[in-house]
């Protein structure tokens, strides 16, 4: 007879382990005392909180992150974002500085910081599942951190940084004098090298500064002035967070059997919404519009400037470069041009190529954009979604000979005005407005301004007869929305004129 001993412990370890006690012992973790207002979120929280708190705190933080993300999509300047976010932060996720006066028996600051800390880790759990969520979460959190970091006064900031123990080598006095000229010329807005204290770090730590060419670089070391700390801290924060998220995602499957937290977490991650992909499939389709390869020329009057300029270039050169083709193809897909018609359209547009040349070089890309070929993911997702303004604005600048991108952003002011005039925008006020918008880097406002001007009669009529609600009059942030709205407005105008 075999007696099974389930609780048997390896005899070697038995001596120092009392399993009965071990099982029910309350774990003793070090309570965190949150000495700083800022937090790098290195240590996970360990104390108990209620499920309600768990959910509420997470939702509060989520609101903030969603707002921050929305601000960045709307291309708001840091100042605008700040005015927008500050009241929300006060409401949902207050964090007072060390200097603020304490009131009441329990230090409220401790509570606030605890909430900040816990909510961050809860959302980490919720957003570590997929690559896409992780990236968005890291981005939003980084923006939040940057925002808070700038709010803190310098003394607190210094204390916080010292607590981080980063390996920054400070530049000696002799070295500084030796390099003084280079330091000054490399660092914008600085007159004398002696004004600042300098740190020497591996250049990989400050990619932002390198990319903007605003730091002196020698033998792989970047010479960073103290005030550029922000960039380094942020980079550090992001790398640590990304690494941690990666780890969290691997631990996530263990939560699978938990039926209290998983639903909440799932719910949370869904609520983060997909502000990025504002475009849902079929959204740009216009019912009843005859969209075929041959009607594109006619329809192009409804296209936003970016697509219109691509169209003109295509007609002029009988060719477009890769990114131009991609941007335009996806847009055409978005307005409802079928794959067959799209191939036909490009075939006809690329005069001077034989069928073989066309098929071997271009056809695949078009089919790829429609998800007709390519990897499993691509086909299941029916290719890429049409580019949003956000994507067009932020993606790489067009290089020599390339024509993709957003004219408002990537053209010089003179060429932009010229292009607008060639499309029939002659109104001086509008052009002046566009110029100002572009100077303030509010490209989408400029584009909407042109839209409103070009459709002012129709918009007015639509508002009068109350059909304005049917055609949403929000700011346009997607080229396909531009087309759809333009087309519908003009159609409505036409049908009214000849009933």
């Amino acid at each position: 007879m075999i007696r099974q001993e389930f609780h048997r412990i390896d005899p070697k370890r038995r001596a120092n382990l009392n399993y009965k006690k071990q099982q029910f012992a309350t774990p003793s973790f070090k309570q965190q005392d949150y000495p700083h207002r800022l937090n790098f979120y290195d240590i996970p929280p360990t104390a108990e909180i209620t499920l309600e708190q768990f959910e509420q705190w997470a939702i509060d933080r989520l609101k903030i992150l969603a707002e921050i993300e929305a601000c960045s999509y709307r291309n708001k300047t840091p100042d605008e974002t700040k005015t927008h976010i500050t009241p929300l932060l006060q409401k949902f996720l207050p964090l007072s500085s060390n200097t603020s006066s304490r009131t009441g028996a329990v230090d409220p600051r401790l509570k606030e910081r605890q909430k900040d800390h816990y909510s961050h880790f809860i959302l980490r759990l919720a957003f570590s599942a997929t690559e896409d969520l992780r990236r968005r979460f890291a981005r939003a959190e980084t923006m939040l951190f940057r925002f808070r970091f700038q709010e803190v006064d310098s003394r607190e900031r210094r204390a916080f940084i010292e607590g981080l123990s980063l390996d920054w080598e400070s530049v000696s006095e002799e070295e500084r004098q030796e390099l003084a000229d280079n330091l000054v010329t490399a660092t914008p807005g600085l007159r004398r090298a002696a004004e600042e204290s300098w740190y020497k770090v591996d250049w990989e730590k400050v990619p932002e500064l390198i990319e903007r060419r605003s730091v002196f670089l020698s033998k792989g070391k970047a010479y960073v002035p103290e005030r550029e700390q922000l960039s380094m801290i942020i980079a550090e924060f992001t790398t640590r967070l990304e690494r941690a998220l990666e780890l969290t995602s691997r631990a996530l499957p263990r939560l699978d059997e938990d039926d209290r937290l998983s639903p909440i977490l799932n719910h949370l991650s869904k609520n983060f919404g997909s502000a990025e992909s504002v475009y849902s499939e079929g959204e740009g389709f216009v019912d009843g519009a005859p969209i075929t390869a041959s009607s594109i020329d006619h329809l192009s009057q409804h296209f936003p400037l970016c697509m219109r300029s691509l169209h003109t270039t295509l007609r002029k050169n009988n060719h477009l470069k890769h990114y131009g083709r991609l941007q335009y193809t996806l847009f055409l897909k978005g307005i409802g041009l079928s794959l067959e018609e799209c191939i036909l359209f490009w075939r006809q547009s690329f005069k001077g190529f034989t069928d073989d040349e066309f098929n071997s070089r271009y056809k695949y890309n078009i089919r790829h954009s429609y998800g007709d070929v390519g990897g499993d993911v691509n086909r299941r997702g029916r290719g890429y979604p049409p580019y949003s303004c956000q994507k067009i604005l932020n993606d790489s600048n067009p290089g020599v000979g390339q024509t993709h991108g957003c004219p408002y952003r990537h053209y010089s002011a003179e060429n932009l005005i010229g292009l607008l005039q060639s499309t029939g925008v002659h109104d001086k006020d509008v052009l002046r407005g566009v110029r100002e918008d572009v100077e303030k880097t509010r490209y989408h406002i400029a584009c909407n301004r042109v839209f409103e001007w070009a459709h002012k009669a129709e918009i007015k009529r639509a508002k009068e007869d109350g059909s304005a609600s049917a055609i949403d009059l929000d700011t346009i942030v997607h080229p396909n929305t531009y087309f759809k709205r333009s087309y519908l407005l003009k159609q409505a105008g036409k049908s009214q004129r000849n009933p």
């Binding site: 690559e131 280079n182 000054v184 010329t185 490399a186 914008p188 250049w203 990989e204 990619p207 932002e208 390198i210 990319e211 903007r212 060419r213 605003s214 002196f216 670089l217 020698s218 033998k219 792989g220 070391k221 050169n317 009988n318 060719h319 477009l320 470069k321 890769h322 991609l326 001077g352 073989d356 040349e357 071997s360 070089r361 271009y362 695949y364 890309n365 790829h368 990897g375 499993d376 993911v377 790489s396 600048n397 067009p398 290089g399 020599v400 000979g401 390339q402 024509t403 991108g405 004219p407 990537h410 053209y411 010089s412 002011a413 003179e414 060429n415 932009l416 292009l419």
Partner: protein, 521 residues
């Protein structure tokens, strides 16, 4: 594997005429090559395909990773523009791989050591086969297997991708997202087509000595920045075979950079932004960043020689108009325009001098000297600063054509460029494949003693083999004008390996030696 079927078919046909490598003279112009019987139709189709391939080549330097579109083609390659295509036929290609291609050194370069390691084993290769099929995710455990497979497939060219965490051949057995790139050399790509708006001598795929200078300048500027600013030491520059150059930065620190750091470097080096419609494309803040200062010093003499004299860029009214639009002062522009209109055909040098001369006479006007100087500096940079295809540098998974392969369009070998003598490098005198093969024959004819054994063995590209047997026999490449390039490549690898080795422990050195011996038998 549908591709392998196709390639097997072609490779067997090569085996049938394996003797052909001995007769390379016929391969120089395949149009005239004697058609024997049944081969003719096949040859013709092969010819057409190669021509296609050659068109495609216009863009060989912009390979896109699988995530984006596969290949990109430059605009409007109309037939008139094309230089006469030199087709490299499959036999010549095969002979080149058999006798000249330095597989062993390529292996050592990518493997960072002698003992086969994951650095080589998990490295992606992408082959473009003769029938234009594109095979990605190939990988090879050792140099010999690599060589064997290349000989079997006889690709028209192949590209090198990143080292993955797992063997890329196994990607189908791994879940999605399991195969991740770990490292790749930091690469840069310079292509003369990006200079089309400022070079007057040639267009599209054509190059000449005059416009190659643009690449020389670019190499100097980028090389200086990578070495002095970023502290990289092992930078291999490679001629891309037609009208560009690639840089492979092989320092361990560079190989392991994640994509965002690569983007940072690309941004640091990138200056001429904006498309055709962007107006003034260089707008630098003052004072100039040390990197810009240094670049400007390097480029100034080139601007005078190349832009003003050789290219005579501003001679035409259109370009002169563009020059004027880059100058800050309206009054001055007006005066200059009047002067230049009255003397059509005035040379660029004179025009450039006019700017200063006229500016001096109109001191009273709104113009101050420093803004004019700054504008002139911006112009110099816009017309000479390297135009990198930065997309190539930003992504680790980007594939780039391997050194020493043959450019199918020109037949030239993609040889390394010794950056110390970059001025002397002449792309038009780079050895081309048929020339190399005939050089072997010439050498063999002059030294009949060793020739007979070698030609039958076809082991030319495997070094060490002969050394081990004690009888030092020349390898095929040593008989040709490819020798200095391979020697340079070897010295480059030696430097790289030396650094790699210092990082490793003494013990692994010993095991390595034991293993290399065991590999010899």
């Amino acid at each position: 594997m549908p591709h392998s079927v196709a390639s097997e078919g072609s490779s067997t046909s090569h085996k049938d005429d394996e003797v052909l490598p001995d007769a390379p003279s016929a391969t120089a112009n395949p149009g005239i090559s004697v058609p024997h019987g049944e081969d003719t139709p096949e040859k013709e189709t092969a010819g057409v395909k190669l021509e296609d391939l050659f068109n495609d080549e216009d863009d060989d330097d912009h390979e896109f990773p699988a995530s984006s579109a596969p290949t990109e083609v430059e605009m409007g390659t109309t037939d008139a523009m094309k230089p006469l295509p030199i087709q490299v036929d499959t036999d010549t290609m095969l002979a080149f791989y058999q006798r000249l291609f330095p597989f062993r050194y390529l292996f050592q370069w990518l493997n960072h050591g002698i003992v086969p390691s994951p650095d080589f084993g998990n490295r992606e290769f992408a082959l473009t086969l003769q029938n234009d099929a594109y095979l990605r995710y190939q990988s090879y455990p050792t140099a010999d297997l690599f060589r064997k497979d290349i000989l079997r497939m006889n690709p028209s060219r192949f590209e090198i991708g990143p080292v993955y965490n797992r063997n890329p051949r196994d990607r189908k057995t791994l879940g999605s997202g399991q195969l991740k790139p770990l490292s790749k050399e930091l690469v840069f790509d310079i292509d003369l087509t990006d200079y089309d708006d400022i070079r007057s001598c040639c267009e599209k795929a054509n190059i000449c000595g005059k416009c190659w200078v643009f690449v020389t300048m670019a190499i100097k500027v980028v090389d200086a920045a990578l070495r002095q600013d970023f502290g990289f030491q092992h930078i291999l520059w490679v001629y891309s075979g037609r009208r560009g150059a690639h840089a492979w930065v092989c320092d361990p620190r560079a190989r392991n950079l994640p994509d965002d750091r690569r983007r940072a470097i690309a941004g640091y080096l990138d200056l001429v932004r904006g498309g055709t419609q962007s107006g003034k494309r260089v707008n630098l803040k003052r004072p100039l960043h040390p990197h810009m200062n240094r670049s400007l010093e390097i480029l100034k003499p080139h601007f005078v020689q190349t832009t003003l004299i050789d290219q005579d860029t501003f001679v035409g009214p259109e370009q002169a108009q563009r020059l004027l639009s880059l100058l800050p002062d309206k009054d001055l522009n007006e005066a200059l325009r009047r002067k230049w209109d009255s003397a059509p055909g005035r040379s660029s040098t004179s025009k450039w001098d006019d700017i200063n001369a006229l500016a001096k006479t109109r001191k009273s006007s709104t113009l101050n000297t420093s803004t004019l100087r700054d504008a002139k500096q911006d112009i110099i940079l816009e017309y000479t600063y390297p135009r990198l295809d930065s997309e190539v540098s930003k992504k680790m998974i980007h594939l780039l054509k391997s050194p020493f392969v043959i450019h199918p369009g020109t037949g030239r070998v993609c040889v390394p460029i010794d950056v110390r003598n970059v001025e002397q490098f002449d792309p038009l005198s780079v050895p081309n494949v048929s020339q190399l093969l005939s050089e072997i024959d010439t050498w063999d004819a002059e030294h009949p003693s060793g020739a007979t054994t070698e030609t039958t063995e076809c082991e030319g590209s495997v070094p060490n083999d002969s050394d081990a047997r004690g009888s030092r026999r020349l390898q095929d490449y040593e008989k040709t004008s490819l020798k200095p390039y391979i020697d340079y490549f070897r010295s480059f690898i030696a430097g790289l390996l030396k650094e790699e080795r210092t990082g490793k422990r003494e013990r692994s050195d010993e095991t390595r030696e034991v293993k290399t011996e065991s590999m010899e038998f």
